[in-house]
Amino acid sequence: MSKPEDITETPTPETERATIEADIACVGFGPAMGGFLTTLNRAWMENPADRVFESTVAPGLPLQVICYERADDIAAGVSGVVTAARGIRGSFPDLNPAHIAMAAPVTSERILYLLDPIGASSRSLSLRIADRVLRALKGTLGVRNDAYELPWAPQFLHKAGGLVMSIGQFNQWVGTQIMASGLVQIWPSMPVSQPLFAQNADRTGDKVVGIRLTDQGVDKYGVPGEGFVAGMDVRASLTVVGDGPFGSVGSAIDRRMGMPPGHDKREWALGMKFVIELPAETVLEAGTVWHTFGYPEPEIFGFLYVHPERLASVGIFVPSWLGDPTRTAYRYLQHYIQHPFLWRHLKDGKLRSWGAKSLDESGQHGEPFLGGDGYARIGEGSGATNMLAGSGVDEAWTTGVQLAEAVLDLLRHRRSFTQENLSATYESRRRSSWVERNARNAINARTGFHLGFVPGLIGMALAGMTGGTVSLGAKIPKAHEQLRKRRAISQRDLKRREVAMLAVDDGRPLHDALMSARGWPEIEFDGKLLVSQQDALLMGGKVQAMPGFPDHVIFRDAGLCIRCDDKTCIAMCSGQALNVGGKGVPNFEREKCVHCGACVWNCGQITANGLTNIELRAGAGGLHSAEN
C-alpha cells in the first residue's frame, strides 16, 4: 500500500493498491525517452557488472528501469517528420536509414507559397494585393500551378543531411534495440494517471516519489465495475517525464510545482497529416521535402515529405494564432492536398493512414522547471521544440541523451536525484548545448504572428537571419484568448451559422458544415484518397480504445459548455470524438479519440479556478498506425 505521507494529485477511491519499487520510472515512450533509454542502456551494456548500475531497490540486480507508454504499441506514433538528425546521428554515428522503415536521407528541399485557387480562404488586403502581383507576373516569377517557389530556402529551415522519417517506425526501431538487452522494460498500453508527490523531510517543498498507473475495470465515469484493477503505484528515486506537451504527469507537476516566472504554454498547433501511397508513375523521389504556406489559409503551414516505397506524409499545421473560432483541420487538409501544385502528384494516390497531434509551439516561453527533487523533464513537454527551425524530434532525442548522461554522472558519484544535482548535471548540459542556443534564437521568432500573418513572416525571417537578435515583439495571449470573440454578429455570420446548424441537425459534422457555409466547395469523395473523416478513422491508422478505462476528456463545468457559442473544441476535434450534444455539452466518444489534445487548447471557456474547461486525463487506446 502507499505510504501515508503520500500526497496524490487527485483524490481517488480508497482501495487496495499494489506498489512496486523501481530505480527509475519513465513516463511516455517517444523520441526523448528513446534517447534517454538508449544512452542509459548502452552504458550498462558496456559493463553490466559495474556496481554503479546495481539497483538500490533490488540489491544484486541491475537498475530497475521501467517505462510506461499509453499507446497500444510503441510503434503507434503519430508523426511523419523531417529532422536534421544531429542528435540522433550523434547516438548512431553509423546510422543507415535503410535499416529504419520509411526513413530516407533528405535529398531536396523547397519552400512554396501557395496561392488560393478557389478563392475561399480568408486573406488580408495586403496578401490579396501580393497574390495579384504574383499572378500578374507569373511568367516572370515562375509561378506554376498556383505556387511560387522561394528562390532560396533560409538556412534556419534547412534540414540538409537530415532524414525523412516515420516516428512510429523510428520508435519501433529504437525500442526493439533497447528492450533486447533486458535492462529496460517498456510497457505499452499502460497510461500513467499521475505523479506521486511527497513532502520533503529535510527541506521545504514537495518531491516526486513515483507514478500511479491508471485504474482499469471502471465505467466511463471511473466507477469500479467488474474486473476492477486499481492502478499500481510505482515508487522510484527518479521519475523521468517524457509524456509530451499535455501528458497527465507533466501537467500535474506543472500545477503542483508551478512554472518558472514568466513561463506559460500559450502557443499551440494541431498537426494533421495523411500517409499517401503515391501513384505508380510518381516522379517524387524519396527524401523530397516541401514546406508550404499560404493555403488553405495563410496561417496554415503545410508539408510534403516523401518516404521510400512511394509513400508520402502530407499534412498541415493549424496554429492557435489562427484566431478563427470555427477553425478545423480534416476538411482543410482535404483542400490542401487538392491544391494544384500537390494534386498533380497526389491524384490517384491512396490513403494508407492518417494521424493528428498537438504541438507545443511555445518553445522556451513554455519551458517548465527541467528538474526537481525526484524528477526530470525531457522532450516536447520540457519546451524543447524549436519553432524557428520547425524541429522537435532531434531536440527531444538530445534532451533525453543529456538526461541519461547526467544520471550516469550522478550514479557514478553516488549522488541522489535532487533538484540541485539534476540542475548541476542535466540542466547545465542542456544549457550549454546546441539545443539551448537554437532555442534562444527561436524564442521570439513567431511572436509576430500575433500581429498578423505578414508581420509574422517578417518576424520569423528577421529572427532567423539575425540568430534571434532581432524579432518582432508582441504580447502572446493565453491560448483561449487567441480565439477571436464575436463582438457583433453580422447578418452574413448569422446566415452561415444557421446553415451550419441545419447541416448538423441533418447529421453532418460541425466542421464540415461550417466550411461549406463559408464557401469552401464540397469534397468529392473518391473512396481512395478523399474519404469521409469517419472512414479515415478506419483506414490504416485505425482508432481503438480498450474497454474498462474511464473517459479521459472531461468537461469541468457543464454550464460553461452550455453557454459556449463557438464549440471550437468540436470543430477542431481530430477524430470527431466530440460532437454536438443535446443540451449544449459536447458528447465525447472515447473510441474515436486519437489523444491529439486539440480540445484542450481550443476550449475558450475558463472555470472560476482559472482552468480551461476541458481537462485531458490519462487515457488508453488511440491510433494504431505504424506508418505515422
Partner: protein, 268 residues
C-alpha cells in the same frame, strides 16, 4: 489432475493496419510486414486466456506459451501479452510469416515442446487457435498433435471443464450455432480454440513484471530456426475484398435499412 498446458500461439500483423499481399523473392508476403506492429494471433490468444484461467483454477498445473516468429517482433508482442496472464515463454526465432509451410512450422514447434524440461507429456493439454488471422490453413495445431503422438483432438472449442477423475468435457462448435459435447477420458489432448468464453484480461503491470523474469531470458536464448516453404508454390494471395459506402441517414425505418442492405449485398 493438474494439466500441463502448452499454448501454441503465433504472432500476426496487427489486423488494424493496412495489409497488402505481395509476391517477394521468397514467395508471397505482406508488404512491409516487418514494419507492421504484430499481435498474438487472436484465436490463439483466446486459447492462452482460457489456459491461464484453467491453470488458475487447478493447483499444480502449469502454462507454457510456445511462440514462433522473428525475435524482435516476439519481444514487442510479449510486452503487451505478458501483462495479461502468467506463463512461461518458449520462443523460437524464425523469419517465418503467415505463408510458411504448416508441416515445417509444426515440426519446429513440436521440437520446441519436446525440449521443455519439466513438461509431463502424459498431462499435456496442447492448446492453440482453431483458426488463424495469418493465412488460416488450420492444420498446424493438428499436425503438432500428430507429431507428439496425441490422438484426441478437438477443434472449434469454446469450453473445457475438468473433472475430478482427470476426464474433461469439451464443447466444440458445430453448425447451427450449437455445440457438440464430448467427454475425453483424460490427457493428453489437443484443443483448437474458437473464441472461448472469456474476455481479454486487463493489463496488469504486476503480472507483466513477474513474467519478465522468464520472458527476457527466453527471448535471449531463442533458437534460430529456418522455416522453409518445402517446395510449395502459391498461385495468388489476396485479401478479402471490402468496400465502404458511408452515408448519413436519419429517421429511416429499420426494415427499410435491412431491405437496402439485402439489396446491396445481393448486388455484390
Amino acid at each position: 489432475m493438474s494439466p500441463h498446458i502448452v499454448v501454441c500461439a503465433g504472432i500476426v500483423p496487427d489486423p488494424l493496419q493496412t495489409l497488402e499481399p505481395i509476391v517477394g523473392p521468397n514467395g508471397p508476403a505482406l508488404k512491409n510486414e516487418m514494419m507492421l506492429p504484430s499481435v498474438l494471433d487472436p484465436w490463439a490468444a483466446s486459447a492462452l486466456y482460457e489456459g491461464a484461467n484453467l491453470v488458475a483454477k487447478t493447483s499444480g498445473s502449469r502454462l507454457w506459451l510456445v511462440s514462433l516468429g522473428p525475435k524482435a517482433k516476439l519481444q514487442q508482442v510479449m510486452m503487451t501479452i505478458a501483462q495479461k496472464v502468467s506463463f512461461e515463454l518458449i520462443a523460437v526465432d524464425s523469419a517465418s510469416n503467415g505463408f510458411a509451410d504448416a508441416t515445417t512450422t509444426a515440426t519446429a514447434l513440436a521440437c520446441a515442446i519436446t525440449a521443455i524440461p519439466d513438461l509431463d507429456r502424459s498431462k499435456l493439454l496442447l492448446f492453440g487457435g482453431w483458426e488463424s488471422a495469418s493465412r488460416g490453413a488450420g492444420v498446424t495445431l493438428q499436425t503438432i498433435g500428430e507429431l507428439l503422438g496425441v490422438v484426441d483432438q478437438f477443434m472449434g472449442v469454446d469450453q473445457i471443464d475438468m473433472r475430478e477423475d482427470g476426464s474433461f468435457e469439451v464443447l466444440e462448435r458445430v453448425e447451427g450455432g450449437k455445440h457438440q459435447v464430448s467427454v475425453c477420458a483424460g490427457t493428453p489432448a489437443v484443443l483448437g480454440w474458437a473464441t472461448g468464453n472469456l474476455p481479454e484480461p486487463r493489463n496488469n503491470p504486476q503480472i507483466g513484471m513477474a513474467n519478465m523474469r522468464t520472458v527476457i531470458p527466453a527471448l535471449q536464448k531463442a533458437k534460430q530456426t529456418a522455416i522453409g516453404n518445402d517446395g510449395q508454390q502459391f498461385l495468388s494471395a489476396t485479401l478479402p475484398s471490402q468496400q465502404r459506402q458511408t452515408r448519413v441517414v436519419k429517421d429511416m425505418a429499420p426494415d427499410a435499412i435491412a431491405q437496402e442492405l439485402v439489396e446491396w449485398i445481393g448486388a455484390k
